[in-house]
Amino acid sequence: MIYEGKQKIWKDYQKEIPDDHWYFVRSCIRQNFFPASERMFTEITRNVLGKDVYETPYHTTCGGIAYHCDTLPQETAMTIVARQFALMTEAGYENYAASCITSFGNYAEVLETWHEFPELEARIREQLWKATRREFKKPKYLAHTSDLIYHWRNQIAEKAKFRLVDKDTGEPLRIAEHIGCHYAKMFPSKGVGGAEYPYVLTGMVESWGGQIIDYPERRHCCGYGFRQYHVKANRGYCVSNTHKKFESMEPYGIQAIVTNCPGCPYFMDRWQYFIAEQTGKTYGKDGFGIPVLTYEELAGLVLGYDPWDLGLQLHQVAVEPLLDRIGIPYDPKAKYLGVNKEDLLRPSLPQTLKCF
């Protein structure tokens, strides 16, 4: 392909990201499974970068998981979204940042559907008024929170205390990225870099010194599948798809994985434990797994935050080999302590997957 053609295609998948004043809504899954990442997003954006990121306690779930488990009518899901937009409007913001990929996809779907079918938007406005007496403006800009960390990646790099580099060899760390499906697969123009070549996580990793490693099943779903995980009988679907990804990346010497989806890091971390215990197979070196990090965990590490303040003790796959490789200091005895060094005992150890 000629260079100008490539440039034109790339331009189609660039996204305008305002530099400040964001209305922020949280993720149901991340608050449960990566609570420290949710906290770190506001910590980094407000206290490190000095940005205006506003949150109201009155916002709720967007209903996206229930909607994609087919338990909510579409108009219910849309009206919950409309209420979220009303809260943004009442707070005086027009830039809307969602912490969840399912939510981000849900908001994008709602806005696109309303654009195609204005009569549906009018109906949802009526239903919102009837139910809550609220009105709303649509966001001027819709972003996923990983878009914002991507946008500010070079400012984070300037403040970094560590780089994603092997301290012994000086080589960039070999990192795989995993993009949540609903980030751009439905609406490629809504994601940085589109669906086939998303740049949102690659940009962060490159800015912070690491190297992105390609592998055949890079774009394959982690296997969440909504109803496929939330019903116990269906979870073979989930682990089969995660297994496919890890088998595909195995020859490439991946040292860490970074994700921008709430569920993906949970599943790719936990299913490594399950696969190890069921089959004896591990994908990291020396019996360890491959750590799967959120982008806030990665940003927090390069900024020099204590790994246990970042919540890395809640990963089943041990992160210590990665910390040692970069040269990040940590206190092993503090890993499972509570606030004020309260003794909370320790988790039991798996039989196969090596952990601390």
Binding site: C28, I29, Q31, N32, P35, A36, R39, P57, Y58, T60, T61, I65, A66, C69, D70, T71, L72, Q74, E75, T76, T79, R83, G105, T113, E116, Q127, L128, A131, T132, C181, H182, K185, M186, E196, H220, C221, G223, Y224, G225, R227, V231, A233, N234, G236, Y237, V239, N241, Y266, R270, Y273, W308, L314, Y336, G338, V339, E342, L345, P347, S348, P350
Partner: protein, 231 residues
């Protein structure tokens, strides 16, 4: 019921996701569900495209429409900008409204799913909440998560959460006024009626199967026969 295709056409997701399918099979090639289940989204769209009510009704009563994980990988790659995943959402919606979902093992899972999310959303304001995400039902989450749930409040405090607290923050208590608004939205937009419908159809099926509702719901959540899987 006659005119099933016309019913599907009323669904906005169907109108967004169903254009002229050329049956190339690209969707099936990239589909995570097709990796695992005896599932072929190309065939589903081909059946819908026949507009044959008897064939569509058979789909609505089958396990097949419940295999999709709604990842929407098919949407990206379809050369005709179809969305088989969106067609699936419309088929599932119709299957629930007509009560056909109780005729398949995977369809009956709608009852536990509906209860899980309706309770979480209306009682807590979240789709997932620590008080209902039991470790015993998610043992693959491993010993670290078991430890976390055994020390839930202390562990969440260490992570900087505002668990059940006032004001903003991680896992805050969502104010009752906001929960009341969610309930009003459920009432106005049909979700409350949908819950009633799912329970009514499920209760009838439980009676037919000679089970209590508790047995029926537990079996739907836990049991999987071997017939679904690729060899």
């Amino acid at each position: 019921m006659d005119h099933l295709f016309e019913e599907l056409e009323k669904d906005y997701r169907f109108r967004e996701g169903y254009h002229t399918c050329i049956n190339c099979g690209t969707c099936t090639a990239v589909c995570p569900a097709a990796e695992f289940y005896r599932y072929d989204p190309r065939k589903i769209v081909a059946i819908v495209q026949t507009r044959d009510d008897a064939e569509i009704e058979a789909l609505l009563r089958s396990d097949t429409i419940w295999y999709c994980g709604e990842c929407m990988s098919c949407v990206t790659r379809c050369p005709r900008r179809n969305g088989p995943g969106l067609v699936i959402m419309a088929l599932r919606d119709l299957s629930i409204r007509l009560g056909y979902f109780t005729e398949s093992e995977k369809g009956r899972q709608i009852l536990p799913l509906t209860h899980t999310f309706a309770r979480n959303i209306l009682n807590y304001g979240y789709c997932v909440h620590p008080e209902t995400f039991r470790w015993e039902d998610h043992m693959e989450s491993g010993p670290v998560w078991k430890w976390h749930t055994e020390h839930l409040e202390q562990s969440l405090a260490r992570q900087g959460a505002n668990y059940k607290g006032e004001g903003p923050g991680v896992l805050r208590k969502i104010p009752q006024a906001s929960l009341d608004e969610l309930k009003a939205i459920f009432d106005v937009t049909g979700a409350t009626e949908r819950i009633r419908l799912v329970e009514e159809y499920s209760a009838a099926k439980a009676r037919e199967m000679g089970m209590s509702m508790e047995e029926y719901e537990r079996q739907a959540f836990e049991y999987s026969s071997d017939k679904h899987f690729n060899e």
